[in-house]
Amino acid sequence: MRIRGYVARIWAVAKKDMRIYYLKGPVVIFGMLIPAFLYLAYAVGRNITPQQAIPGIMSMTVFFTSTSVGPVIMPWEARSRTLERLLSSPVNMSMILLGDAAASATFAVALTTAVSLVGLSLKVCTFRLAILAFNLVASALCYSFLGLAMSAYPSDVPATVMMLSSLVKFPMVFISGIFIPIEVMPTPLKMLSLLSPLTYTTELFRASVGLNVQVAPRFAALILAAYTAAVTYVTMRLHKATLSRRFQ
């Protein structure tokens, strides 16, 4: 099968996901409302300048939106019994996951771009576009696959997978420099924060608005790209490994 065929099928899956899942309840709640309220709860009443706030909001947005679509798709499709029909057509699990990730990443890029446009229109910050664009795309893909990795657990209950993903997502938010800057963290936490890809996303967003950073942008970009590749590979392996359990 030619590359064009692969891409067309992946895009068809992505379009289907966009039509069906963008406005599902769990996506709206976990992807938009929770990060917005979480950040407001943190920022209101504190002395944070808009320039300092924007990178944090963007990190939260890209992270929560891209991890909100992925965990919903597989259990939803398993429950509505459409997954087997999809797998019976000329697509394989890798193509389905790439389509799902594309839909999820597009959602994250669109919403995060909207946040950055708000920042620009209010003239609270200017962006270094190359860093911003790379960070947006790499982060959106990385967290989309991370969200999909959670749904490798062969459950047909979206709430179970969302709960599982929350267990991973919330600790990541607190160790990744969104609420507490890395430089003021105690050393063990600082070490832990370096293990989280979200740290590099936040650092790159800070770099893109010209704030001080702890990790050099090039290094952060490299780490983020490596994380994206690794998470993509692991997600595909996990789903292939658990596929037969879905049909037991």
Binding site: M1, A8, K15, K16, R19, R81, S88, P90, S244
Partner: protein
């Protein structure tokens, strides 16, 4: 060398020569002469459970092949392996001349599937469901709409075109599923209980459509069903699987003759006759169902003569006398029971 071994050796040699020659032919000609489905010692285990156990069979081009078995017998797992969504633990499957494990995408691109536990996308409209599948099967854009419109018309779905699939009745959803399996005009159809849970009219409509496709377009159909009348009506050959093992493959008529075993004669006498008395007089198994006595015999003609003799001897008039044909259901139950 034993005679059996010689025959097996010659058979294999002929098969090998045939396979090699068939591969040298152009693709279009190959399909005139080969089986479209080949399962060779196909095996699948789920932990300790052997779901499919060394299943071997072939399905010829243009055939309607029925795959029957009780729940959990391994029918669906076999189909999943044949279409390449489950990897077998042993054996191999070939569909349309292609190794399923190596060419899963290519195989699925040329077949149509209606899986057992499947559904259309309830959040998409009937039309969107069809267009999505047309995109996946890479149906050219120029013919996509025309083909979808024709299918909707044929299956009586045209007035539901813009209705969300989740709002359709089960029968209509099943018709839509069939439409999505046909949008790319497949050469081979795998249907896993396509009429299960449908009302009589919808089931009849789907059967009619399938028969028409098989007759007029030569589409090969691999069908699993629990409805034995449906299997008898539609299938050229039937394979029966039980506990993962393929028990038998035959035509419905052969199956009935081979496994239904005893024929049955039904007789009603004017007076009440006890089954024990009749059984003693005729020397066969007799069962009483209300006023009807069912006689299970090997030779129907001989039995009818004996019944007439008995009637004369005991001065009891016969009200009705019928020879009951063995049913596929009886044959199926005997195969599964054995």
């Amino acid at each position: 060398m034993s005679r059996g071994f010689e025959i097996e050796f010659i058979r294999r040699a002929i098969h090998k020569v045939y396979e090699l020659t068939a591969r040298m032919l152009p693709v279009e000609v190959q399909w005139l002469s080969s089986d479209v489905v080949k399962a060779e010692r196909l095996t699948k285990r789920f932990g300790e459970l052997v779901a499919v156990d060394h299943v071997t069979f072939t399905v010829s081009k243009g055939e309607v092949f029925g795959f029957l078995g009780p729940n959990g017998a391994g029918k669906t797992t076999t189909i999943r392996m044949l279409i390449g969504i489950l990897r077998p633990d042993g054996g191999r499957a070939e569909v349309l001349g292609l190794d399923v494990e190596k060419n899963g995408l290519e195989v699925r691109n040329r077949i149509g599937v209606v899986p057992e536990a499947s559904n259309v996308y309830p959040d998409l409209t009937v039309w969107q469901n069809l267009m999505f599948m047309a995109e996946l099967y890479m149906v050219p854009k120029q013919v996509r709409k025309e083909r979808a419109t024709n299918l909707l018309e044929k299956l009586g779905l045209e007035r539901f075109r813009d209705v969300r699939a989740g709002r359709l009745s089960k029968g209509l959803r099943q018709r839509l599923l069939l439409c999505t399996a046909l949008i790319h005009e497949p050469e081979l159809l795998f249907l896993d209980e396509p009429t299960s849970g449908l009302d009589v009219q919808s089931a009849h409509e789907i059967r009619r459509m399938l028969k028409e496709m098989n007759r007029e377009h030569g589409v090969t159909i691999f069908l699993t069903t629990h409805n034995l009348r449906e299997a008898e009506e539609m299938c050229d050959r039937i394979g029966i699987i039980n506990r993962g093992k393929l028990v038998t493959i035959s035509t419905p008529t052969e199956l009935k003759e081979k496994f239904a075993g005893l024929r049955c004669v039904e007789v009603v006498f004017e007076k009440d006759v006890s089954p024990e008395e009749l059984s003693k007089a005729l020397g066969c198994e007799v069962e009483k169902r209300e006023r009807t006595l069912r006689l299970y015999v090997d030779d129907v003609n001989e039995c009818v003569c004996k019944v007439v003799d008995y009637s004369k001897r005991s001065n009891t008039r016969i009200t009705s006398l019928n020879v009951v044909q063995p049913s596929l259901e009886e044959a199926f139950l005997r195969v599964i029971g054995s």
